[in-house]
């Protein structure tokens, strides 16, 4: 059994708050988008909760960005270009075929890199691409009076609304895939437990540091 301390406390706290906010934003967002009724939240309440959760998500994202700039966790988001495409193909092939043939994982978690190339790419895209855009479009919604009447020849409020909607759908998609992909660790719950305890534990000894990696 090897154990790596890969998820410091601040990161876990941020992750689970972020996860909760994601769920709240999805539910209240759907309630606002489709109107109240059935299992949806009453519209007026949904608006207030959605706005509040959006503001908290913004603060959380700023905390996440600062955390990754000022701690070692940021290194997991740095792309190593050497062999990048090969690693991507190997990882993709594993998810598409190898995993059904009980082939060994092509990637091994280490203290230097906890994400496989596909994970790294998707987390980078989500956390530093989609999330900031979603947050910006949300704030643009709230303060649309400060926007010009039109953007790119289209009504700016409509453009902001469509951007926010598209980004929201993409992030719902991410959440689904993310929740599934975390079950593809050594066991179904290996990755989930790592995000709860901070420790990534595997039966097979992984390369790099073990218990003493905790700092």
């Amino acid at each position: 059994m090897s154990a790596l301390y890969l998820y410091p406390r601040w990161l876990r706290v941020w992750h689970w708050i972020n996860a909760l906010l994601f769920l709240v934003l999805m539910y209240t967002g759907a309630s606002m988008h489709f109107g109240e009724g059935g299992w949806l939240m009453p519209f007026d309440l949904a608006v207030t909760v959605h706005n509040t959760a959006g503001i908290l998500l913004t603060l959380g994202w700023i905390g996440f960005a600062i955390g990754n700039l000022t701690t070692e966790n940021g290194r997991h988001y740095r792309i190593h270009l050497s062999g990048f495409v090969d690693r991507l193909i190997v990882q993709g092939r594993y998810y598409a075929q190898g995993i059904f043939r009980n082939e060994p994982h092509p990637f091994h978690v280490s203290a230097g890199m906890k994400f496989n190339t596909l994970q790294q790419l998707s987390y980078l895209g989500v956390m530093f691409g989609l999330m900031p855009l979603l947050i910006l479009s949300g704030w643009a919604f709230l303060f649309s009076v400060s926007l010009p009447e039109t953007l790119l020849g289209l009504p700016s409020v409509w453009l902001v609304a469509m951007a926010h909607l598209t980004l929201a759908y993409l992030l719902v998609l991410f959440l689904l895939v993310h929740m599934y992909i975390i079950t593809t660790g050594e066991t179904v719950t290996t990755n989930l437990r790592a995000m709860i305890t901070g420790w990534h534990r595997e039966d097979e000894p992984s390369s790099g540091q073990t218990e003493e990696a905790k700092s």
């Binding site: 988008h33 109107g35 995993i99 059904f100 043939r101 649309s144 009504p155 598209t166 998609l173 689904l176």
Partner: protein
């Protein structure tokens, strides 16, 4: 106050006045002289009589009660609150009874407002208002009720004030709609069939001005038109508000958003922002694409999970 109330109170006052005058021989000329002596030309002079709630007379031609009461407090808060009565009511009102020649004047808003400083430079000129009103159902209707319809029917010059950014939206909507409902009172009758087609009718009435649907769509940034539409020509299409690229949506949203942001700190206004209109982010194409891709992904993930489960079972069987 309804006609009956005015009639009763006016009748009572008149009877009391006649009784007193009858009992006091010679009082009439003295009272009139006293009034005449003290009548000036500032608003306080006019309001000495016109603030009386029962002041009015019955028009001998139409038989209608003409209410001459002015609420001094309301007038002070109105758009014209800083004006003197005689700025609009020109003529020899310094005498009582007022001379026949100055009575029955029909005051024309556009005529006066067009003379205001830079009136022709306003983005929404009174000329435009006049042109729009000329096409309004209030101007073209054959109904006897619309006869002689002028600005004053909606914009009481002694009380009207434009809503201002920062006022609570519900208050603005209520005040605006009250203008319409003061005549169209049957609309709110529980047995009225009007607006039955409208989903969440009461919610709409609380949140949307009548004018938002009963005027033609205007270009972004322009105020609501004065061309009031007939019911049949009004906006019945939900998608005009609750969908993409809707000019009506832009108008409503920007207006509400501006109102929301004016009244308090940016954070509290971000939290309690009421500007979002149900469905304003609705796009049938994006919804279909988004929900379709999410549904397909879910199926793929389920199939993938099933494949993994079968591989796991095979592995266990091989090991055993």
């Amino acid at each position: 106050m309804n006609d009956q109330d005015v009639s009763a109170r006016f009748g009572g006052l008149l009877a009391l006045g006649l009784l007193l005058l009858g009992l006091l021989p010679g009082a009439m000329p003295q009272a009139e002289a006293a009034i005449q002596g003290r009548l000036g030309t500032d608003n306080a002079d006019c309001l000495r009589c016109h603030r009386m709630e029962t002041l009015g007379y019955r028009d001998p031609r139409s038989g209608d009660l003409i209410d001459l009461h002015i609420d001094g407090r309301q007038f002070g808060h109105s758009a014209h609150g800083e004006l003197q009565c005689i700025d609009c009511h020109e003529g020899d009102f310094g005498r009582y009874p007022h001379p026949e020649s100055v009575l029955g004047q029909r005051l024309d808003c556009v005529g006066c407002h067009q003379e205001l400083y830079k009136a022709d430079k306003r983005p929404y000129t009174f000329k435009t208002i006049e042109q729009e009103f000329a096409l309004s159902i209030h101007a073209v209707s054959d109904s006897p009720k619309a006869e002689g319809f002028d600005c004053h029917r909606c914009h009481d010059p002694h009380g009207f004030r434009n809503s201002e950014v920062g006022q609570p939206i519900a208050e603005i909507v209520r005040a605006d709609n009250q203008l319409c409902l003061s005549c169209h009172e049957k609309i709110r009758d529980p047995h009225s069939a009007a607006h039955l087609w409208l989903p969440k009718r009461d919610k709409h009435w609380q949140s949307v001005r009548c004018l938002d649907c009963h005027t033609p769509l205007t270009d972004p940034g322009r105020p609501v038109s004065h061309q009031i539409l007939a019911a049949k020509d009004s906006n019945f299409d939900c998608v005009s508000c609750h969908s993409k690229e809707a000019r009506l949506l832009g108008r409503l949203y920007q207006y509400r958003s501006e109102t929301d942001l004016a009244g308090g700190g940016w954070l509290s206004k971000a939290v309690f922002n009421e500007a979002y209109v149900v469905g304003m982010s609705r796009s049938p194409l994006l919804d279909a694409l988004g929900l379709g891709v999410i549904g397909l992904t879910l199926l793929v993930l389920i199939a993938h999970g099933w494949g993994r489960y079968r591989a796991y079972r095979r592995l266990k069987e091989d090991r055993s």
